[in-house]
């Protein structure tokens, strides 16, 4: 009775897919394991586990400074990006002025440019403007760079909403602003969440732009980690990575609970 295989893909597809999946997972799992590795270098057979490197991470002044800076920057960039993205998305989806499509394309353009180029461009601009603070340079540049993520998520979200709901609210007496506040905004939660998470993670993790704009006083976590790898190469970076991965997994779980991964990735 079970002789009939009704799936549209054969066993070999499953095998390749499975291998691809394993390939994706291995580095993430490995680095978490390595963070607890007692010896400084990787060795087989496995050595006992320790949290020494986590302690090392928190003791390291430069890492702590970078950690603070990264989270502060991300904490600024995310609400800024979202605050700009919401009216932009509404303008694109619900507006009726000419040039909407152009605006949409223009807002996606920062993603098309290699990070390096963006980094240098802003470096040039800021040196001409004599903006010396690495902190503000990174914040400004990342706000521009991450805007497309937020806009894309919100536009996708808005496209799926029924304008009749806002019309109903206005029909019942709500002003444009109140209709937005009480009807539209609550429905934008998936887009805000998706956009917010992408922006936040990118702001913390961005390397190719930040590396040009940081200065002596401010480094970000990725830049600091990069330098540390070149100089020391011990599992402290793995500890940092594990913490970040833990954060990411938590965020993704959160998304799964609130909206489900399908909506998050704008896949219908």
């Amino acid at each position: 009775m079970r002789a009939l295989d009704t799936k549209p893909y054969s066993g070999s597809v499953v095998a390749v897919g499975g291998l691809a999946l394993a390939f994706l997972v291995v580095p993430v799992l490995f680095i978490v394991y390595y963070a607890f590795n007692a010896s400084r270098y990787f060795a087989l057979p496995p050595v006992p586990l320790t949290v020494h490197w986590f302690a090392n991470f928190f003791d390291n002044e430069r890492f702590q400074a970078a950690l603070h800076a990264s989270f502060e920057i991300a904490g600024l960039v995310t609400p800024l990006s979202l605050a700009v993205a919401v009216p932009s998305a509404i303008a694109i989806v619900r507006g009726s002025f000419r040039g909407r499509a152009l605006l949409n394309t223009a807002l996606l353009s920062p993603l098309m440019v290699p990070g390096v180029v963006t980094g240098i461009a802003f470096l040039g601009l800021f040196s001409q403007l004599n903006v010396a603070s690495g902190f503000w340079r990174v914040t400004a540049a990342l706000s521009c760079f991450t805007l497309p993520f937020a806009v894309r998520a919100l536009v996708a979200n808005l496209h799926g909403l029924d304008p009749a709901l806002e019309e109903a609210a206005r029909n019942l007496g709500a002003s444009r602003w109140r209709a937005f506040l009480h009807v539209t905004l609550p429905q934008l939660r998936p887009g805000l969440l998706a956009g917010g998470i992408f922006v936040f993670v990118e702001a913390i993790d961005n390397f190719s732009i930040s590396v040009f704009l940081t200065d002596v006083d401010t480094t970000t976590l990725p830049v600091e980690a990069y330098n540390y790898i070149r100089d020391f190469d011990d599992p402290t970076v793995a500890a940092m990575a594990t913490l970040l991965i833990g954060l990411t997994v938590t965020l993704v779980f959160l998304v799964q609970r609130v909206t489900g991964l399908d909506k998050f990735l704008d896949l219908k």
Partner: protein
């Protein structure tokens, strides 16, 4: 003892090749839910069987099991006497017309129709000839070079039909094929399909939830509910003599009555219902409560003079009137509160009765079906 639901001329012998399709003990479970529950039936060659039922009754699952897209948990499927249960879909000769037609959008109509023949490795000339013939059969000759997106719904359906028929399959499977069409087009296509099917003599299984469609097209109807067949019979029988309460309800606005057994006789039994008495032929089912189904058009109406006491039976008032042009639908409320639907053909002289009028109903016992399920 479980009914085999086979034809009246005896349970189908599974190795009998005059049965184009034989299903035995088909079961499919999804988790704890039984989508198809030990279903068996046989279809004679050249006939059209409709699997009729509401959504979720298992009819589509059975069709897909025949086509090979669902692997049954138990049971056997035989086509032309050959057991195909373990065969993959591409090795079965069971051409299917999908609900959304499933025409390949990147191929022309002609290429679509040729696809099955290409898979069978026929020669180019032969394929071309057969494609032309198939398109002529469904009257799509002129549109051979078009893409599906350029066709209307009816044309797409005919293209899908040509694609299925050109492979000369042993079974034609139709999955709610008329659902996407407009009402007017639907009836025309139904008749056309039926004529074609009869002309070609191809054994066909049709899945639908539309009882009218089933009545128009079928040689046999299998009414399904919750994974089981409740009645398998020719259309007229399912309509006139529904076997169960479910079938009666599903086949249309039958009046469902419950009466009390009051007496038995040599050739029949008495049932007290609706304030009156009916003498029904045959043997009564077990128990005191008798379930009856009567079609609205099988009840006659007479004016009831004011002196007629309610207790005389089958007397009531008209509570609602629907004028459908050629037919009149009356809702009658009987003295004991029972509501019945009565239908009258409207001929020239027929007066439209008014709400509130007192009427007496004429129920012919022979038009009442005793429900045994």
């Amino acid at each position: 003892m479980r009914d085999d639901h086979a034809l009246k001329d005896g349970p189908g012998r599974l190795a009998d090749t005059s049965r184009a399709l034989s299903i035995a003990g088909l079961t499919k479970r999804y988790g704890s839910h039984r989508a198809v529950d030990d279903v068996s039936f046989a279809v004679p060659a050249g006939s059209l069987l409709t699997l009729l039922g509401p959504s979720g009754c298992g009819k589509t699952t059975i069709l897909r099991a025949i086509a090979g897209f669902v692997a049954p948990d138990a049971g056997r499927i035989e086509v032309g006497g050959v057991d195909i249960t373990a065969l993959p879909p591409e090795r079965r000769q069971t051409a299917m017309l999908f609900q959304s037609y499933a025409l390949f959008p990147h191929m022309t109509v002609a290429q679509n129709v040729a696809f099955g023949l290409k898979m069978r490795r026929l020669g180019r000339a032969e394929i071309a000839a057969k494609v032309v013939a198939a398109l002529a059969l469904v009257r799509l000759d002129e549109l051979a070079g078009r893409y599906p997106a350029e066709l209307s719904g009816g044309q797409q359906q005919r293209a899908a039909l040509a694609r299925a028929l050109v492979t000369e399959p042993q079974l034609l499977l139709l999955d709610e094929p008329f659902g996407a069409l407009d009402q007017n087009l639907r009836e025309a296509m139904q008749v056309e399909l039926r004529k074609l099917q009869q002309r070609l003599g191809i054994t066909t299984i049709l899945v639908t939830h539309d009882q009218q469609e089933a009545l128009i097209l079928s040689d046999l109807i299998a009414v399904m509910n919750a994974g089981r067949i409740e009645q398998l019979a020719p259309p007229i029988e399912v309509y006139d003599h529904p076997a169960t309460r479910f079938v009666a309800g599903f086949m249309g606005a039958a009046n469902l009555l419950t009466g009390r057994l009051t007496g038995r006789h040599a050739d029949g039994f008495d049932v007290a219902v609706g304030g009156g008495m009916l003498r029904l032929p045959g043997t009564p089912p077990a128990g005191d409560a008798i379930a009856l189904a009567v079609r609205p058009e099988a009840i006659g109406l007479d004016a009831a003079p004011a002196e007629t006491a309610d207790a005389d039976g089958f007397v009531g008032r008209i509570s609602f009137v629907t004028n459908l042009g050629s037919r009149l639908l009356y809702e009658i409320e009987l003295a004991d509160g029972l509501r019945l639907a009565v239908e009258e053909q409207r001929q020239d002289k027929t007066r439209v009765r008014a709400v509130g009028e007192r009427v007496r109903l004429r129920l012919d016992p022979h038009h009442c079906t005793v429900l045994r399920g």
